[in-house]
Amino acid sequence: MIRKKVDNVQEALEGIQSGMTLMLGGFGLCGIPENAISELVRLGVEDLTCISNNAGVDDFGLGLLLQKHQVKKMISSYVGENDEFERQMLSGELDVELTPQGTLAEKCRAAQAGFPAFFTPAGYGTEVAEGKEIREFNGKMYVLEEAFAADFSFVKAWKGDEAGNLIFKGTARNFNPCMCGAAKITVAEVEELVPAGQLDPNEIHIPGIFVQRIFQGTNYEKRIEQRTVRERL
């Protein structure tokens, strides 16, 4: 077993520098690497390029990094629900590359799995396809998209073991598995870290080979963005 456990978030983020490109898992505030984001804020690294489906909300998640102007560029699919993000983008303070959500996921997976490029129908005929190669296959038009290249990938899992194996919970899975092994260094934070051998090899979502560092996270807030309930009849 190759041991991936590190003692805390400080150790997990060793080597992080201003100007780097980071991947961050999560959809909205669901499944985001809360501990890593806090530490990025504390470290004050700047000029970051962040690949993340959303950018949190004004006062939580990646919104915390935006507030402190640590982010130079966001690569995301959706901006809604974050006024500061929209303001910085419209004012030109922040460079934003909007990417269709499925393309965003696959550009991560391509980096993970060693594919330099793939053809997808998403965005054909729109400004997303401008400057990109277009090709017809079986009568349908496709856009050539390239794999991402990133320095660090920060993901959040439910359970993990010391070998770096990960299991996610519910829809907190989302982009997290696609980002594992998609950057030079993948850092996983988990709600419960167990010794190797305690997770069923058949139930592992992401094998430890895709993870370089794993640590037990603390103080998860897991804020709900749109609490929606139904009436009891």
Binding site: C30, M89, K169, C178
Partner: protein, 217 residues
């Protein structure tokens, strides 16, 4: 004239037995409330769940179980969770039978715009570009006109596109229209709405063949 729930109720009639359905944010989300309960349907949400159920009872919300609108949800027997790449594999691979989404503009050739107003507002495309480029059965749910009263059914979209030639059907507060080679073919009128009223607020080519029935809800 229909309200948002009325539009959702009419669209629910398009949902057939055995369909996997992806519902966009807004009016489309309401469609789930009106699907007949004697047919089998599964709802997919692109953030990674199939077999979505109703919203949870208060106190039973789970922050780790949400839909693409970031709302807390529940799951039904037979549900599954998966990652974003797999989710869009379902969508791109045409395994989802019906996609229902909102729009700012629809053109008579089936083009759709719903993610950006240059210089003013940018929400982002989210999963919409993947959905409209992949799905073979796309229904747009929207109001017939925008807040300024201008038609949203146009000869050509003026806003940046989400997808080209992909919309098959539009259900608005006033009408049901099919996108054909000739333009928007008027199929049904909303209760109490005249053909003349629809013509007045449809900027794109409106095709009217014979008597147009009022919709049954």
């Amino acid at each position: 004239m229909l309200d948002k729930n009325g539009i959702a109720k009419r669209i629910a009639k398009e949902v057939k037995d055995g369909y996997y359905v992806n519902l966009g944010i807004g009016i489309p989300t309401l469609v789930a409330n009106f699907v007949r309960d004697d047919i089998s349907v599964e709802f997919q949400s692109e953030n990674g769940v199939l077999g979505m159920g109703p919203f949870p009872f208060a106190g039973e919300e789970d922050a780790d179980i949400i839909n693409a609108g970031k709302q807390t949800i529940t799951t039904l027997p037979g549900a599954s969770f998966f990652d974003s790449a797999t989710s869009f594999g379902m969508i791109r691979g045409k395994h989802v039978d019906l996609t229902i989404l909102g729009a700012m503009e629809v053109a008579e050739n089936g083009d759709i715009a719903n993610w950006k107003i240059p210089g003013k507002m940018v929400k982002g495309m989210g999963g919409a570009m993947d959905l409209v480029a992949s799905a073979e059965n796309i229904i747009v749910a929207m109001m017939h006109t925008n807040r300024a009263g201008a038609s949203k059914l146009l000869k050509q979209c003026s806003l940046p596109l989400t997808g080209v030639g992909c919309v098959k059907k539009v259900v608005t507060n006033l009408a049901v229209l099919e996108v054909t080679g000739e333009g928007f073919e008027l199929v049904e009128r909303a209760p109490g709405v005249s053909v003349a009223q629809i013509e007045e607020v449809t900027e794109g080519t409106l095709v009217i063949n014979g008597e147009i029935p009022e919709m049954e809800l």
